[in-house]
């Protein structure tokens, strides 16, 4: 087990749960799709590269000699940052996990969020991008963490497999 978290911190708890999702779904026979994460990382690191170039230019050649380049770099930084912000807000939304069932190839996307000062983890499942299969549930974080701050992965696994059963039942109706 990794480091314990402060269970009275809604953000830390939710982050730990987010990070546990891939391994849980691995056990549930899903393969993760990294499209969103990778796009985000590409944009993010291009921002870092732009700033690094700007920094090195300034240090090596001096501010006065590279003003036109710096203007370009600052413009690129602003554009990329707004792109990053747009991507996070409107494309990724709060999707933390996307994966496919290994046999049936059913796609599942999971959005998660938390609210300050509440021991709750809000999870929304969407199967195969169908609006009808949408399932919104709330996980009481008191049920998967112990007082010392360790995540009980088995309990979390059980909870998620139950939810998946509910979704598949819902579809048959």
């Amino acid at each position: 087990m990794s480091k314990p978290v402060n269970v009275y911190s809604a953000s830390e708890v939710s982050k730990t749960l987010d990070e546990a999702l891939p391994s849980i779904f691995e056990r549930l026979n899903y393969t993760e799709s990294f499209k969103l994460t990778d796009t985000k990382l590409y944009i993010g690191y291009s921002i870092v590269v732009v700033s690094a170039v700007s920094f090195l230019l300034d240090k090596q050649l001096g501010h006065r000699n590279v003003i036109p380049y710096q203007q370009g770099l600052v413009a690129a930084y602003i554009i990329l940052s707004s792109l990053f912000w747009y991507f996070k807000k409107y494309v990724e939304k709060s999707i933390t996990y996307v994966g496919n069932e290994k046999k049936t190839d059913d796609k599942i996307s999971i959005c998660t969020r938390y609210e300050e000062c509440e021991p709750k983890y809000f999870v929304t499942f969407v199967k195969n991008d169908e609006e009808s299969s949408k399932l919104e549930v709330v996980l009481e974080t008191t049920k998967v963490f112990n007082e010392a701050g360790y995540l009980q992965t088995d309990l979390l696994y059980n909870w998620f497999s139950e939810q998946l059963k509910i979704i598949s039942l819902k579809k048959k109706e």
């Binding site: 402060n6 009275y8 911190s9 809604a10 953000s11 830390e12 000062c117």
Partner: protein, 186 residues
């Protein structure tokens, strides 16, 4: 608010945010105090009299001489009166007042300082000088000052406790123009 450090950070951030608002209020209110009840940018007056120049020749680099050629250095003595107390409000740390002269020479436009003073409190804001000597000895960039017409002005600059620096010029009365006599060739 979930841990000791986080609580400390939240309180500090909040305090910094509000202190920026306080600073904005201080800057805005002191600016308004400069405009009302009387607009100090227009209504600060000064009177100058008895401006008399004296000239010496110097050969030091620190007195404008280059390549060993002697340079004309001019000092003036003068009477000056002005009241700067309306410039003091809660955001005034000090006022810097300076007496300058403008003149034109063949190729350039020039402004030079003859005298300045720092006023640190409202009690000392009344400037009354009799036969005062200029603090600086002044030379011209190119040739010399003989024959140049000097036009004296009294400026002020408020250094605030926080915020932007404020500059202004007094409405000067009295005989503030002076032509420096040509040096007698001997």
């Amino acid at each position: 608010m979930f841990s000791l450090t986080q609580r400390f950070q939240v309180v500090s951030n909040q305090a910094i945010t509000f202190s920026l608002v306080i600073i904005a209020f201080v800057v805005a209110s002191s600016w308004i105090q400069l405009l009302y009840p009387s607009n100090v940018f227009q209504n600060t007056t000064s009177a100058i009299a008895n401006v008399t120049p004296s000239m010496t020749l110097r050969t030091s680099r620190y007195y404008g001489s280059q390549n060993g050629k002697p340079k004309e250095n001019v000092r003036v003595s003068f009477d000056l009166e002005s009241d700067f107390s309306p410039l003091f409000n809660w955001n005034t740390k000090q006022i810097f007042v300076y007496l300058t002269a403008n003149y034109n020479s063949s190729g350039s436009i020039n402004e030079v300082t003859f005298w300045d003073d720092i006023i640190t409190s409202k009690d000392k804001a009344l400037v009354q000088l009799k036969n005062a000597k200029s603090k600086y000895t002044v030379w011209d960039l190119e040739s010399g000052l003989s024959g140049k017409e000097l036009d004296f002005k009294l400026h002020w600059n408020i250094q605030p406790w926080v915020g932007p620096l404020v500059y202004g010029e007094t409405d000067i009365s009295g005989d503030h123009k002076l032509t420096v006599e040509a040096r007698k060739k001997n």
